[in-house]
């Protein structure tokens, strides 16, 4: 009998090899207690969190918590049903209204996760005979959405406007075209030249979908993302987003001005064939989204944190994913997996949690220590973090 698990042998061996060096397993950390958006207890030690997507620090907001408690009391722990049957409560409509207000768009559709939002919208909108043109560094949920659908899939080199232009130009006349871009690419923390790319896509008659998961709440004048920042949001056909980052809970969504958008509720399988979000989750999301609308001070502080940490790490001699800070993600490029894991462990011992990121999540086979800042990190915490990187980097021999 062929063992169906033999395809994982290479990865099993690599993992065993890494753990045999005595390093703590970077992929099985448990947070025993969470004290605030920026501090948790890991292995009995207070640890500063620099590897969450809690960009706006909404997870412990008193209004958000209160809304969740109230919904739990009033509507129970779960819906036990699909959005199109018994799974739409007042709270689901309320959070969709909050999204329409936040983005100033006509339609909003909420999914159970951000992953499912990409899976559902992409596989449903682009069908057989249509073409999807997408950035090669797209998130796994985008690729899986392509795989679930029947469209022809054509990738282009990361952020390469002319490569995208050429591919769009060669698509057979009359075929439907969907261009998929991200506002912020979460591995290196770089942003897309959406102004130019959306113009090129529109020039070829393509519809445009932009995933703004890592920009909501703090990029753009109203926190609507990179497309808003670059002045092209009105030309984007579909914005995909998530509740699991700045909003501080879980869930995904798509907002759009397409006049026929609502039909998707009946034909989009990852929307129909799954249970809807629990009432407490949509209540916390709606409250959080409305608070994010006037989060200007928090936004400014988050950007200040990002600039301070980026400048200091660069100054210490670390190799970073971007020349200048473009988002709340600062990616530190490690020379290899072994030293990446050693650096990750040294930082954990210092009392700092960051993400160790590896292929297939990372581009070009890179090992990254990915830092994501929070608006609730104090200036003092950021200085503490810099000191930790300095000591750990020198101990491991990376700087």
């Amino acid at each position: 009998m062929a063992d169906l698990f033999s395809k994982f042998d290479g990865l099993i061996a690599q993992r065993e090899g890494l753990l045999a060096t005595g390093v703590t397993d970077p992929f099985s950390l448990v947070m025993e207690r969470v004290l605030s958006p920026t501090v948790a207890v890991c292995n009995g030690h207070e640890t500063i969190l620099l590897g969450t997507y809690n960009y706006m620090g909404m997870t412990f907001d008193p209004d958000v918590i209160e809304a969740g408690k109230q919904a739990l009391e009033d509507f129970g722990s779960g819906t036990t049903g699909s959005r199109v049957l018994n799974g739409t409560y007042a709270g689901h409509r309320a959070v969709e209204t909050a999204l329409k207000d936040f983005y100033a768009m006509d339609h909003a559709m909420v999914f159970s996760t951000g992953y499912q939002a990409n899976l559902g919208i992409i596989s449903t909108v682009a069908g057989k005979g249509d073409y999807i043109v997408l950035d090669i560094d797209s998130h796994a949920s985008i690729w899986d959405g392509c795989k679930l659908g029947d469209a022809e899939v054509v990738p282009f080199k990361h952020n390469d406007i002319s490569a995208m232009d050429k591919r769009l130009g060669r698509i057979p006349e009359g075929a439907g075209k969907l261009v998929i871009l991200e506002g912020v690419y979460s591995m290196l923390g770089d942003i897309a030249p959406l102004k130019e790319m959306v113009a090129v896509a529109k020039g070829h008659g393509a519809m445009v979908l932009v995933d703004e998961a890592h920009s909501m709440g703090f990029i753009g004048p109203n926190g609507r993302g990179v497309a808003e920042e670059q002045g092209v949001l009105d030309q984007v056909d579909f914005v995909i987003g998530t509740f699991s980052k700045s909003v501080g809970t879980v869930g995904g969504f798509c907002v759009s001005n397409h006049p026929k958008f609502e039909i998707l509720r009946l034909v989009c399988r990852p929307y129909v064939f799954t249970a809807s979000l629990p009432p407490s989750v949509v209540a916390t999301a709606a409250t959080s989204i409305r608070k994010l609308m006037d989060g200007n001070n928090k936004r400014a502080h988050l950007w200040e944190n990002s600039r301070t940490l980026h400048g200091a790490l660069k100054g210490l001699g670390f190799q970073l994913g971007t020349d200048h800070p473009q988002s709340a993600i600062i990616s530190v490029i490690m020379p290899d997996l072994e030293r990446g894991a050693a650096m990750w462990e040294a930082l954990l011992h210092e009392g700092l949690y960051v993400n160790l990121a590896r292929p297939p999540a990372t581009p070009a086979g890179m090992t990254l220590l990915r830092c994501s800042l929070c608006a609730e990190h104090t200036a003092e915490q950021v200085q503490t973090i810099i000191g930790m990187f300095d000591r750990a980097g020198r101990a491991i021999g990376i700087i």
């Binding site: 899939v153 054509v154 080199k157 591919r167 060669r170 086979g365």
Partner: protein, 79 residues
């Protein structure tokens, strides 16, 4: 363009990606013999697309494992 001429042009495009100097035959596989990883595949496909002004979707690439299959596909895509 006939098959031989297309094959010659593709062979020339493979050269810079053929790091181990593997002798190319119709049966040479990109993943096995040439050891192309996913990034190399992307750059190589881009070079082929630009040379012949065609588009090779990932769906089509899934059917192309060898040099010979690529030559056939490019001949067909050029019409």
């Amino acid at each position: 363009m006939d098959r031989a001429a297309t094959a010659d042009r593709i062979a020339a495009l493979i050269a810079p990606f053929n790091k181990n100097g593997v002798a190319i035959e119709d049966s040479s596989s990109f993943a096995g013999d040439l050891e192309f990883d996913s990034l190399t595949v992307m750059d190589f496909v881009a070079a082929i697309e630009d040379e012949f002004d065609i588009i090779i979707s990932m769906n089509q690439q899934a059917e192309i494992e060898t040099y010979g299959q690529l030559v056939d596909a490019v001949v067909k895509l050029q019409g």
